[in-house]
């Protein structure tokens, strides 16, 4: 972020301009698929047959393999490649630093996500505030709420994410020397 923006950064103005803004509802690039679930399970050595075994899924109360609930957001997105044009209305919420860390995540899961489901999501900025951290005395925090729906427009999950944005130590030091 530029020095010019840092000097003029006013959190109250940002709040007034941005809180309540929503992204467009976007649909995931692909339906829910087996292999991303397998890769997800691989990273935490999860062997749960409900997530991995089509026969077990078919014979379960769900009638098919389901995704671990924490994957709802993954399947509602487009993944990192190929990159899509930036249409995210919340991608440019002004912050001082460009470094980001997810801090608090809170999900409510309402219905299962099955193989073949087509998920969509919409996010809303519900809060933005300043709170110092060790790395940056002017860190800016963003709180967003995400609603994930399926192809029937049933709400699958509702999540709230608190994202910390901060500057590098060099940027903080430069700011303090002004």
């Amino acid at each position: 972020m530029s020095d010019q923006l840092d000097k003029s950064y006013d959190i109250e103005v940002i709040k007034a301009q941005w809180i309540g803004k929503k992204t467009e509802k976007t649909t995931g690039r692909y339906p829910v698929e087996y292999d991303p679930i397998r890769r997800h399970c691989h990273m935490v050595e999860d062997t749960n047959p409900l997530f991995l075994d089509p026969d077990a899924g078919k014979n379960s109360q769900y009638g098919s393999v389901i995704a671990p609930p924490v994957m709802a957001g993954y399947f509602a997105g487009s993944g990192p490649w190929p990159q899509k044009a930036k249409t995210d209305a919340l991608a440019n919420v002004p912050t001082r630093g460009e470094r980001k860390i997810n801090m608090n995540i809170d999900w409510e899961y309402l219905i299962p996500v099955r193989i073949g489901d087509q998920l969509s999501s919409q996010r809303e900025l519900v809060d933005i505030f300043e709170k110092p951290i060790k790395l940056d005395p002017k860190a800016v925090w963003l709180v967003t709420e995400t609603r994930i729906t399926n192809q029937n427009d049933d709400v699958v999950a509702v999540g709230r994410n608190t994202l910390l944005t901060h500057r590098t130590p060099e940027q903080v030091s430069a700011d303090l020397q002004k």
């Binding site: 399970c41 990273m43 935490v44 749960n48 860390i101 997810n102 801090m103 809170d106």
Partner: protein, 148 residues
């Protein structure tokens, strides 16, 4: 490594019960699996120079990995008829390469709700042998009742 597939019922659980945990060793291979499994290519999770330039001690494991690890504890434990209703966690401290991460949990309450479902609240967390608890979390899960 588990996975538990015996069915847990609400009547089997009482406050203070420990949830069977498991361990993940954060080798550099596991770091690669983290990126593959989460598809999170933000450099702070795989590029040590980028992470240090941002003021971090090391690269650190990402949100997708963290929530997957916590979720697995619950889904292993609750069996195929359980359901995670609410799940929240706080990324307070970092898990970095070479850490030995343990995923643990404890039951904090049980209740049969007005809708007849058996609810269980739990505290769960990631801890490592370097700095202790890094990621506290809470969840409410629904379990089948034996009598229903």
């Amino acid at each position: 490594m588990t996975t538990v597939q015996t069915q847990l019922h609400w009547e089997d659980v009482k406050e203070g019960d420990k949830i069977p945990g498991y361990t993940l060793d954060l080798t550099w291979t596991k770091m690669v699996e983290q990126v593959s499994g989460s598809q999170d290519f933000y450099e702070v999770h795989h590029d040590p120079d980028f992470a240090r330039e941002a003021g971090h001690e090391e690269i650190f494991y990402n949100t997708g990995f963290t929530q997957a690890a916590l979720c697995r504890l619950l889904t292993d434990w609750m069996g195929k008829e359980g359901w995670i209703q609410n799940f929240s966690f706080q990324m307070r401290r970092m898990n970095i390469p070479e850490d030995h991460v343990q995923v643990k949990g404890v039951v904090t309450g049980t209740q049969v709700r007005e809708d007849g479902k058996g609810a269980v609240t739990v505290d769960l967390w990631l801890e490592n042998d370097r700095i202790g608890i890094t990621t506290p979390a809470e969840a409410t899960i629904l379990l089948p009742l034996r009598e229903s």
